[in-house]
């Protein structure tokens, strides 16, 4: 019996946003009577943090504290149209729509404040803490709350905004595949360290080191969540998961979480992440949306590490102990490929 250490590398890029356009998202922003802002969407939060990231985007754009913004989604009667939360389009498309809606609401807010302070709106700025002040003269200010009250109960104006973000549909050439597929690319590279048991074919991932380029980490803790959880899913895809274990044979499909295999709480792998941020020019504050791409590089990195460990190329996912063991047997034993 021997345990063989192996190390594998993979790097990827990932297209952000739905493919060929034609997929708008809309947002509405309006102020409550006392200067809190409601963002109305029909985008979906399925754990990726849509409500939270659009809230931060709206707050940043409006120039008010995040605590003063609430995102309401998704009700088709009140939230304007949105194509959906998929294809890493949420942050990009919805985020941009929210920027536009919040920018318009901000413009109205600054105008109302200018009216109260009797200055030109262009001379005003927000401090991000609920105040609007004259540039260079922080003492000459009005609160956002007072601005909203004045606008709505004195000036007769709404502090509201509308936003839509659309990349128009584009065609694909039948003969060359020429197309305009995406808005921007996120990037990642990972190194996986693992051990292979040459008697059972069992693989134990021992460590992951990674670099993920996400444009901008709009919320660093939520980025961390996506990257940790996404890498877990990548390892899971590489070594465990399928609905058809004997594909293309259709038999023995799992029907519960006991038979559909995923790494358990005891299989957690230490993961050391570096986040790189190269803002994309048309993405909201440059953020690219890390949710989908985070899993992808783990699959090949695991496969490459297994080859490095025992000399077995597993080109069929998932890489079960059986496939590894069959490979080792076909090679007449483990054939470690050296260390990197």
């Amino acid at each position: 019996m021997a345990l063989h250490k192996g190390r594998g590398f993979a790097c990827i890029n990932y297209p952000i946003g739905m493919n060929l356009g034609g997929d708008p998202s809309q947002a509405l922003v309006h102020s409550t009577p006392d200067g809190k802002f409601m963002v109305s969407l029909s985008a979906i939060d399925l754990g990726q943090g849509m409500k939270s990231v659009t809230r931060q985007i709206a707050a940043e754009t409006l120039g008010v504290p995040v605590a003063d913004v609430y995102v309401d989604t998704a009700d088709s009667d009140t939230g304007p149209h949105d194509m959906g939360s998929f294809a890493s389009r949420g942050t990009h498309r919805v985020g941009n729509a929210v920027i536009r809606a919040a920018a318009e609401a901000r413009a109205a807010m600054m105008e109302a404040a200018a009216d109260e302070l009797e200055v030109n709106p262009a001379d005003l700025d927000t401090d991000g803490e609920g105040n609007i002040h004259v540039k260079g003269a922080p003492g000459r200010s009005i609160t956002v709350a007072d601005t909203a009250i004045a606008a709505q109960f004195k000036q007769g104006k709404t502090l509201s905004g509308r936003g839509i973000f659309l990349i128009p549909t584009s065609d694909v050439d039948a003969d060359t595949g020429e197309m305009t597929p995406v808005s921007c690319f996120a990037h990642a590279a990972v190194v996986v360290d693992l051990e292979v048991d040459d008697e059972t074919g069992e693989v134990t991932v021992s460590q992951v080191n990674s670099a993920y380029e996400v444009g901008r980490a709009l919320n660093p803790k939520m980025v961390e969540q996506q990257l940790i959880g996404g890498a877990w899913m990548g390892i899971s895809h590489a070594l465990y998961e399928t609905t058809e274990p004997y594909y293309p044979d259709r038999s023995h499909g799992p029907d519960d979480y006991n038979s559909y295999l995923m790494p358990g709480a005891g299989d957690v792998v230490p993961h050391n992440i570096a986040v790189l941020e190269r803002p994309a020019e048309d993405a909201p504050f440059g953020g690219k949306g890390p949710g989908e791409m985070c899993a992808n590089p783990l699959l090949p990195a695991v496969a490459n590490a297994i080859y490095n460990a025992v000399g077995v190329r597993c080109d069929m996912l998932p890489i079960t102990p059986e496939k590894v063991l069959r490979g080792i047997q076909a090679n007449g034993g483990a054939q470690p490929k050296g260390t990197f």
């Binding site: 940043e60 194509m83 318009e104 060359t176 961390e224 998961e241 050391n272 190269r278 803002p279």
Partner: protein, 612 residues
Amino acid sequence: MSSIEFRKDLFADERDDTLKEIGKPTIRQDILGHVTGRSPYFDDHLFEGLLHMRCVRSPHHHARIRSIDTSAADRMPGVRRVIRPEDVPNNLNTLLALINFGKDDEALLQGKKVAYVGEPIVAIIAETERQARDAAAVVRVDYEVLPHVLDVEEALEPNAPVVSETYPNNTFDYHELYDHQKLRFGDVEKGFAEADHIVEGRYQMSPIEQAPTETCGAIAAPETNDRFVCYTSTQALFFSLGTTAKLLDMPSSQLHFIGGTVGGGFGGKVDSLHEPLAVLGSKLTGAPVKYIFDRAEEMQVGAPRGAERWYIKDGVMNDGRIVARQFTGFFDCGAYTRLSSYAIIKGTGHLPGPYSIPNVASNVYCVYTNRTPATAMRGFGITGVDFSIECHMDKVAEAVGMNPIELRILNAYRDGDMKAHRRLAKNTALIECCQVAASKADWAISAQAAAQTSLQGGGGERAAIPETVTDQAGKIGERRRNKIPTAPGEGASAKGRVAAGTSVAPIIAVPPQRDDMIIDPARTGHRKSAAEQSPAVPSVHSAPIAPPRYTPPTPPTQAPMAPPPAAPVAQPQQQAAAVQPAAAEPYKPTEPFQKGIKRPGVSRFISGTRRR
């Protein structure tokens, strides 16, 4: 156990890190609901007299339905309604009809011919879920079992069983012309001829379940004013609403969809299978109806990430440069199209991966087989081919005896490179990711590889589109008559050439409707590197602007992160930078954005209304 560092030192001159809310570890807006169990998922809405729906499903891979006898089910205790295929007003749809992509091919309830195990035939509505299950168990369907096909390449044989009459060749029709999507860039045959090594591989990904802890479902109920409310787990509210309106032949204004709080999706909650049946059930019974997958259905009937098979052939020089790369890909889309046809477009645009390769060709097939239809999943259209490409890169590295990371850096795409889909690369960062990951793992790379950057070395010759060889092989229906090769160029009767050239302008976002919808250029968080700064553009601020190359983020107060060890030591933030955004230059977006760019203070909106 794990750690995270933010390498603020990299690309620092392209970022303005003085933003106030962006970049902060603010806790989730919805977290209090999560930890108190009060977050309203679709099933967390209580209705008096809620009815439950269960479907009768096909036990066969492929069978013609001779008859359906629901009489026993009608008489079962608690049964309020049995919905048969003919009760669905407009019983044929394809999910991407909403963006006019593909033909309607799938029934909500199948009454003619089932094409996968689990395909729904009849829906039972009863007072309890158990009653609905008991009634479903006594529905009698008379089947004529048909031959089935489960392998993507077998499905392309001339005599293969026809999975779906809508696509009788077992392949999606691309551009009303070919039975696959082509990508052609340069001449791979020429590249292979020049290459020192040819490296080939075959890769396979089996179907994968999204497995969100909340299963897919919907509750529909009659609302006032002849409308229906539908609480749903959908990932795409208006997708589901539009699909429901179409299948039920209802005006969309009659539908009130509520969702947005979903227990995980990962792509598995786009298909809109539940909302139409729940609304139809509610319409037919006048009562609230819940239709939810149990876990076994979620695992085997709910659409997975489909299987993919890829063949890759590379031509490689001794120094590691990849000079030609050819793909033949097969997406197993199961019995109906759902989203696979589109995944192939996305995947094709992704080829040949994040590398600059002068000759690229691919044929990718969306193949119908008698299994559960495939749909979206995290990494849609990309995960399978990235697995294939990156395993293949290791084979190439071995063939030429190179460090695998150095091989990637050598071939990596850079700013200004022409991609195979004929658009220029920008904002690239693959090389930096490789370097940082290698360094974190103590995986040694050469000084030369460590010195590369995505910002330089691209463009120039690498920005050109080469003369390209095309072919017309694989016209729709051709494969039914004869077995023909699936790889690019093979079996082509006629080859053509597309002249060399340069990229056309990419299609970009529609600009904001009004100037006021444009965020102040100084507040976007973007910054151009010093080299790219245009002195002609006036600053919006009077203060002298010399943006620091690195501005540390405000330290988080609640949940400190591991400090970035390789980043410069954090400097106290300068007071001036905090008050006045440091961006020296307005946001410089692509063209249509510029159309609306204004200097703050000169808004038509403001200047036109009043002046003091």
